[in-house]
C-alpha cells in the first residue's frame, strides 16, 4: 500500500463527473470483493497507465477502471457491488 504513485480517487473526480453527469466523489460505493463501504473518494487511484484504475482502500481489489479514446470512455465497474448517490 506504500505505492508512491497512488492517488485518491478525489484526483479523478472530474473524470467521474464526466461519466456520471455529476460529482460522485462523496457518494457511497460497496466493494464487490470485500464488502467495504465508503466514499468513492477513498478509493486508491492509479492514473499513470493507459487507463485509470480505482482500487479498494481495504482489500486493494479493482473496483472501477476505465480507458478513454478521443470519442469514448469504456468503463468497467464490476468491482462496485452498488453505488448510492444523492439526488440534490
Amino acid at each position: 500500500m506504500d505505492d508512491p504513485l497512488m492517488l485518491d480517487a478525489n484526483a479523478v473526480a472530474g473524470d467521474l463527473a464526466e461519466m456520471f453527469g455529476f460529482d460522485v466523489s462523496g457518494s457511497v460505493h460497496r466493494c464487490t470483493n470485500c464488502g467495504n463501504q465508503g466514499a468513492v473518494a477513498t478509493l486508491l487511484a492509479y492514473v499513470h497507465g493507459p487507463g485509470t484504475v480505482l482500487r479498494c482502500c481495504i482489500c486493494h481489489e479493482i473496483v472501477m477502471r476505465w480507458v478513454r479514446t478521443p470519442a469514448r470512455i469504456y468503463l468497467d465497474a464490476r468491482g462496485a457491488a452498488y453505488m448510492e448517490m444523492g439526488l440534490s
Partner: protein, 245 residues
C-alpha cells in the same frame, strides 16, 4: 441535480510567487461557480497535434472570492503542465479548466471540528482554503495546522501562516523542516511521525476531523499515525498527490 462539469476558458489575471518553486495563479472564470474549501480544478492543455495533458490543482482562495479562483502550483521539473504554468503563462493568457471538483476532501464550518490539518509541501494549498474560509466566516472551530516543508524557502504562504500563529483566534500552527533549518528555528526538524502528531493532537483534543494532503508517502504515514493514536478512520480524510520530486 447540479449541471455537469463543462470545460471553460479561464483568463490569467495574476501571478504571484509563493516560494522558490511555487506560484499562485489567479484565474478569472466566465462561468464561475462557488466552490467548497478543499476542492480543485482540472486544467487541460492541448498541443497543436491534439495531444492533451490534464492535471488537478487545488484552489487556495476561499469561496468568498467571487468570479475568480486562485490555484497554487508547484513546478515539477519533468512535469507536463506545471512548467507551462511557471515558464510560459503570463497575465492575460488563457487556459482551459473545469471545476470546482470534489465533494469529499472539503471542509466548511458546519462540519465542525476540532479541525486538524496536516500538509506536506504544496499539500498546504487546499488546507489554506479551509483556514481562509474559517477566517472569512468568523468561525471559531479549534484548529491545528501541522505543515512539513523541506527548507524554510519551500514554505508556501509563509507570512500568512506566521500570522496565524500569533492571531490567537483558535488556530495553532506547527511546522517542521525536514532537510535544513535556520539557526533560530524553533519548530520541528524531522519528518512527521507519531510523536509529533501526538503533540499536535494534544493542542486540540483526541477526536479531530482530520484532513491530510501531500505526497503519497507523507499522507500514508500521517493517516496511519493518527489512526494508531485513536482517531477514528472515518474522521481522517486524505488527498494524496503522488511521488515527491
Amino acid at each position: 441535480m447540479p449541471e455537469p462539469l463543462a470545460w471553460q476558458i479561464a483568463t490569467v489575471t495574476g501571478v504571484r510567487p509563493e516560494s522558490a518553486e511555487v506560484k499562485s495563479f489567479t484565474l478569472a472564470l466566465p462561468a464561475w461557480r462557488p466552490h467548497r474549501a478543499g476542492q480543485h480544478y482540472d486544467v487541460r492543455l492541448t498541443a497543436e497535434d491534439g495531444y492533451q495533458a490534464q492535471r488537478s490543482y487545488s484552489i487556495g482562495s476561499p469561496p468568498s472570492q467571487t468570479g475568480e479562483v486562485e490555484v497554487t502550483i508547484e513546478r515539477i521539473p519533468d512535469g507536463e503542465v506545471s512548467p507551462y504554468f511557471h515558464d510560459v503563462l503570463r497575465v492575460g493568457d488563457q487556459v482551459e479548466v473545469r471545476g470546482p471538483i470534489g465533494g469529499y476532501f472539503v471542509w466548511e464550518p458546519a462540519l465542525g471540528g476540532p479541525l486538524l490539518l496536516v500538509a506536506g509541501g504544496s499539500g498546504v494549498v487546499p488546507l489554506m482554503a479551509m483556514l481562509r474560509e474559517r477566517s472569512a466566516a468568523g468561525d471559531d472551530t479549534p484548529t491545528a495546522l501541522l505543515y512539513s516543508s523541506r527548507t524554510l524557502d519551500d514554505v508556501i504562504y509563509r507570512e500568512e501562516i506566521d500570522a496565524l500563529a500569533v492571531a490567537k483566534d483558535g488556530v495553532g500552527a506547527f511546522q517542521t523542516l525536514t532537510r535544513s533549518q535556520p539557526p533560530d528555528w524553533t519548530g520541528y526538524a524531522r519528518r512527521i511521525d507519531r510523536e509529533m502528531l501526538s503533540e499536535v493532537l494534544a493542542s486540540i483534543g483526541p477526536q479531530p476531523l482530520a484532513y491530510i494532503c501531500g505526497p503519497t508517502l507523507l499522507v500514508e504515514a500521517a493517516a496511519n499515525g493518527l489512526v494508531e493514536l485513536g482517531v477514528p478512520p472515518a474522521r481522517v480524510r486524505t488527498e494524496r498527490f503522488g511521488p515527491t520530486t
